[in-house]
C-alpha cells in the first residue's frame, strides 16, 4: 500500500524527520506514537502533500507520490484528518461531504453520503451549518467523514480523539474501531493515549526526534526500554 523510504525533512537547521522508513500494508491499522515534537504530524504532512521532504521516497500503490500535489494524492486514495478540525466554511455538514466526494472521486453519490452521515451519527445535523452547530466530537466526526467521502484506500487520522471528554471519546472510539472492517481501508493513526492505540492497532511505530525507534505489536513496543526512555525524557541524556 504505502512504503516510506528514508524520508527526511529539514526546516532550516532543524531536522524534523530523519530517514523514516516503514511500510503500511493493505487494510492494516498502524498506530504512530511518540512524544510531542517527535515529527508525527510532519510525517502526515509529507504523506498527504502539505510538506515537501528534503529527501527520500513515498511509494503508494507502486507510484512515487512525492511530486504529486496535495489534491492529486487525495484523488489517488490518500485521505487525512487534521488535528484541529477544518470543516469547509459556509457549508452544511452534508455539503462538506458532497464537496469532498465530488472532488475526491469525481462524482457525487447521495447514498454513500447518507451512509457516512449515519455511520458517524451526523444524520441529525446533516443540514446544519458545519462550523456553528457542531460540538467538538461532531467536528472530529465530520473531519473523518470528509476523508471517507473521498473514498480513500489509506486514511491518516491525526489525533481524532484529542480534546474529547470520556463519554464522547468512548463512543467515537467504537466508531473508529469499525472503520477498518466496514470500509476495508488502511489506517495510520496518531494518538497520544497508549491504551487507545493498544486497543485499536495490532501494530505500532514509535517516532522520537524524527526517527522510528520501535516497530511492532503494542506489547513489544511499549515494553521497549528505548520507548520508555523517550517518554520519560531520558532518550538523549
Amino acid at each position: 500500500m504505502l512504503t516510506l523510504n528514508n524520508i527526511t525533512v529539514q526546516f532550516g537547521g532543524l531536522i524534523a524527520l530523519k530517514g523514516v522508513t516503514f511500510t503500511i500494508r493493505d487494510e492494516e491499522v498502524l498506530g504512530l506514537v511518540g512524544p510531542n515534537g517527535a515529527g508525527k504530524t510532519t510525517l502526515f504532512n509529507v504523506i498527504s502533500g502539505l510538506t515537501r521532504p528534503t529527501g527520500g521516497e513515498a511509494i503508494f500503490n507502486k507510484i512515487n507520490i512525492l511530486n504529486s500535489p496535495m489534491h492529486k494524492r487525495a484523488r489517488v486514495g490518500i485521505g487525512r484528518t487534521f488535528q484541529i478540525p477544518q470543516p469547509l466554511q459556509e457549508l452544511t455538514v452534508r455539503q462538506n461531504l458532497q464537496v469532498a466526494q465530488r472532488f475526491g472521486t469525481g462524482k457525487v453519490n447521495q447514498d454513500k453520503i447518507e451512509e457516512i452521515l449515519n455511520f458517524l451519527h451526523l444524520e441529525d445535523k446533516a443540514d446544519r451549518d458545519a462550523v456553528s452547530s457542531l460540538s467538538l466530537s461532531e467536528l472530529k466526526a465530520l473531519e473523518v467523514g470528509k476523508a471517507l467521502a473521498t473514498e480513500p484506500q489509506l486514511l491518516l487520522l491525526d489525533e481524532v480523539l484529542a480534546g474529547l471528554e470520556t463519554a464522547s471519546k468512548r463512543a467515537f472510539m467504537k466508531t473508529l474501531s469499525e472503520l477498518n472492517s466496514k470500509y476495508r481501508i488502511s489506517i495510520l493513526i496518531i494518538e497520544h493515549d497508549i491504551e487507545t492505540i493498544s486497543n485499536m492497532c495490532p501494530r505500532v511505530c514509535v517516532l522520537n526526534y524524527g526517527q522510528i525507534i520501535a516497530d511492532g505489536t503494542p506489547k513489544e513496543v511499549f515494553s521497549d526500554p528505548e520507548v520508555i526512555k523517550s517518554y520519560t525524557g531520558g532518550a538523549h541524556d
Partner: protein, 328 residues
Amino acid sequence: MKLRHSIPIILVVLYGVVPLLLQHNNYIMSILVASLTIAGIALAWSLLGNLGGMVSFGHAAFFGVGSYTSAILTMKMGVPVFPAILFGGIGAAIASIAVLPALRLAGPYFALAILAYANIFRILATEFTSLTGGAGGLLGIPLFPELFGFNFGSKLGSYLIITSIVLIFAVIYRMIRTSYHGFALLAMIEGEDSTRVVGVNSTFLKAMMLFLSAFMTGIIGAFNAHYINFLEPDYAFSGVWTMIPIVAAIFGGYRTLTGPIIGAIVVYTVDQLIFKALIPSGHQIILGALLTLMILFAPDGLIPLFSKKLSWARRVKENRSPQTGHIC
C-alpha cells in the same frame, strides 16, 4: 420574498416598465446605462473577491483590454460589433494569463501586483500607436448596429444590451455559486488546505475565477467602447473602472449576488442625480463619506443590512401575533 420569486417582476420592470417610462429621457437613460456598466464590472469584481478570495485593484486592465480588442477588431478587421464584444471578453481573459503568477500572492500583495499589471497595459496601449492610435486614441468606433428593424445604437438599445449582459452575468455567477465548485471556492477562502486535502485543485479554480472575472470585465469594456465610440488609454485603463465598481460592490454587499448590482445602481444614480446637484464640483466626497459609514456600521453592505432588518421585523411580528390572538 425570495429572489427567484421576484425574477418575473424584475424582468417586467427592466424590459417593460423602464423602457416604457424612461426611453425618451436621454439623461436618465445615460445614467442607467452607466450604472449598469459599473454593475457589470462590480459583479465581475465580486465574483473574483467572493468566490476566488482575491481582492483586485486592477480590473481597469481587463476593462481596457476588452474595449481595445473589440474596437480594433471592428475598425481594422471588419468584425461585426456583437461578435467583437465577445472577442473583447476573450482578449481580456487572455490578458489575465499575465496575472497568473500573482495568484501565488495573498491579500494585499495580490491587490498590488494586479494594480501594477493595469498600469503596464495602459502603457502598452499608449505605446502601440499603430494598433491603438497611441495617446490620441481611437475615434469613430462603430456603434451598435440596427437588427430586426431595431436600432441598438440608440440609448434604449444600449440600455437593453447592457441590461441583458448584466443579467447573464448574474445567472452565471449564481450557477457557479450554487455548484460544488462554488461551494469549494467559498470554503477555500477560509482554509485552502482543508479543500486541497479532499481533492480540490485550488490553484486551478482560482485561475478559472480570474479568467471568468477578466472575461466579464472585458465584455463590459467592449460594450462601453461601442457605446461611447471613442477610446484613449487614460480613459480605457483609468482607475475609475476599478474604484467605482469596488465602492458599489462593497456598498451593496459584495458577498451577495444582488449587492454589487443594486450597489452600483444606487451609488451611481444617487451620486449623479442628488449629490451632483448639491455639490457640482467634488460631489464624490459625499460618496466617500457614505462608504466610510457603510464600512464602519454595515461592513457586509446594503443588501445584507436590509435582509437582517427584514428578518428582525418578521421575528418581532411573529412574536407579537400569538399574544394579540390571545388578548382578542
